[in-house]
């Protein structure tokens, strides 16, 4: 009886927390081109969601909107119950977010890019400590301790003084993952993080992400064409086409028995292509 109450309590708490990410009728247009048309979806705390879909279906756009690299055309993005694309004016009305507001909000979100985007003018350690020192206000020593823990996690403890250009793509990407995690984001965005890598380097990066998925409760939005990887780390897959979710489900279900014809076609193409 007591355990039941606790379980029920936990349940309501989680519900009270609500989704970490919520897209509410989000529209994104580039000129005439409508990439996202009134998109609704939400992600629960700690959930790992994989976004799949053909090229141009809007997967990257979704992550870039969340990272505040792009602005919504219409609709509202919410993060942890607070507006991200918008902020409240003195009357409590939602108005487009200004730069100062975005600066505060985006700390909760980290992103790893397809092309790594490490800072070539800094060594590996500096790449990781730069933001903790200058954004979170950690001392250099504290940031270095944190960075070394993360370098160990990604298997690059011996590379802290290396220059990014001297690392393989896989190593660079693992540094980029460590750099994103050093900010302790609540949400991690991964946009095709292994697709710029030579095939033999993909597994190392994926293993690091598997470790992170199993050892932390960080919420993840993952864009990938690697179905095995998606199956290992994510609880839910969203299949996009032309900026709309046309099917969603657990990876087990969606990959083995896709219901929509377009999903079937897409999965077949991915399997043949790789």
């Amino acid at each position: 009886m007591a355990t039941d109450t606790t379980a029920a309590q936990v349940e309501t708490d989680t519900q009270a927390l609500g989704p970490v990410v919520n897209f509410d009728k989000v529209v994104k247009r580039y000129g005439e081109l409508t990439v996202l048309d009134e998109l609704d979806f939400s992600v629960k705390p700690g959930e790992r969601v994989t976004l799949i879909g053909p090229s141009g279906s809007g997967k990257t756009t979704i992550l870039r909107l969340l990272m505040t690299l792009e602005k919504v055309t219409d609709g509202v993005i919410w993060v942890e119950g607070e507006p991200l694309s918008h902020m409240r004016d003195s009357g409590g009305e939602l108005v487009p977010a200004n730069e100062a507001y975005l600066r505060q909000m985006r700390k909760r979100i980290g992103m790893v890019f397809q092309q790594f985007n490490l800072f070539p003018n800094m060594n590996v350690l500096r790449n990781i400590t730069e933001a903790p020192v200058h954004v979170l206000g950690l001392s250099k020593d504290e940031a270095a301790v944190r960075a070394r823990e993360l370098l160990e996690l990604v298997g690059l403890s011996d590379k802290e003084n290396a220059h990014p250009s001297k690392l393989s793509g896989g190593q660079q990407q693992r540094v980029a993952i460590a750099r994103a995690l050093a900010m302790r984001p609540d949400i991690l965005l991964l946009d095709e993080v292994t697709s710029a890598l030579d095939p033999e380097l993909v597994a190392d990066v994926q293993n690091v992400l598997r470790d992170i998925a199993s050892s932390t409760d960080i919420t993840m939005l993952i864009v990938t064409h690697e179905m095995h990887f998606a199956r290992d780390v994510s609880q839910r897959v969203l299949m996009f086409d032309k900026g709309k979710i046309i099917e969603e489900g657990t990876p087990e279900r969606l990959f083995s028995e896709p219901r929509e014809e377009r999903t079937q076609k897409f999965l077949r193409a991915v399997l043949e292509g790789r």
Partner: protein, 219 residues
């Protein structure tokens, strides 16, 4: 050797060297001004609102397309007397050359900043780095590295432009040579051969250094 007077040459050499000291000083300070002010111009061009950028653009364009000697006369005969405080000709010359080459350097910096990949800005945003860190920690170091050879080249061009300051009676090296020869109505060969050699001795190692720098930055 009737065309070459050793006596005059020996007398000229220390005088020319003293003039060269002024030339170097003007090059050094002028370039320092050109490099910092150019960066400031480029920075304003990237960050300031339109109503500041546009008029600044006109002014820079104007400075770039008028000859330094005209600017020098204007600064010396029009602006300087109105300053109230005594500013010597050398200072006026350094400021005029510095500002003139700053307008060129601004273009170079601008190209350098534009050449930094978009992904660097995106990483900066994804890490929430403040604007100051983004510029001074990430973007400018990469931008400047790219354009260091071009900036260095402008230092050399400014160096060769210093004799223009003789027009407002700054006793840089060429002016020293000219004064000596007009005093004696002779020794042109001695004066300008030695001056040329001094230029060569100073320029050659600099150009070697620059080439080395370019090779190093190339990879």
């Amino acid at each position: 050797m009737s065309w070459w007077n050793n006596q005059a040459a020996l007398e000229l050499f220390p005088l020319l060297l003293e003039g060269f000291r002024i030339t170097l000083l003007a090059t050094l300070l002028g370039s320092l001004l050109a490099l910092t002010l150019g960066l400031v111009f480029a920075f304003i061009d990237r960050t300031a609102p339109e109503y500041i950028r546009r008029p600044l653009g006109w002014v820079l364009q104007f400075i770039r397309f008028t000859p330094p000697i005209a600017q020098l006369f204007f600064a010396y005969y029009v602006i300087r007397p109105n300053l109230g405080i005594g500013v010597d000709a050398l200072t006026v010359g350094i400021v005029v050359l510095g500002v003139h080459y700053a307008t060129y350097n601004a273009e170079i910096y601008r190209a350098g900043i534009e050449g930094v990949p978009k992904g660097q800005w995106e990483a900066v945003t994804a890490l929430s780095l403040p604007q100051g860190r983004a510029w001074f920690g990430v973007i400018l170091p990469q931008a400047i590295r790219r354009v260091l050879p071009s900036l260095g080249n402008n230092v050399i061009i400014l160096f060769k432009e210093v004799p223009v300051l003789s027009a407002i009676a700054v006793t840089e090296m060429v002016r020293v040579g000219k004064e000596y020869t007009s005093d004696h109505f002779a020794f042109y060969i001695e004066a300008f051969t030695i001056a040329g050699l001094i230029y060569l001795v100073a320029s050659y190692p600099t150009s070697l250094l620059m080439r080395k720098l370019e090779v190093r930055l190339g990879n």
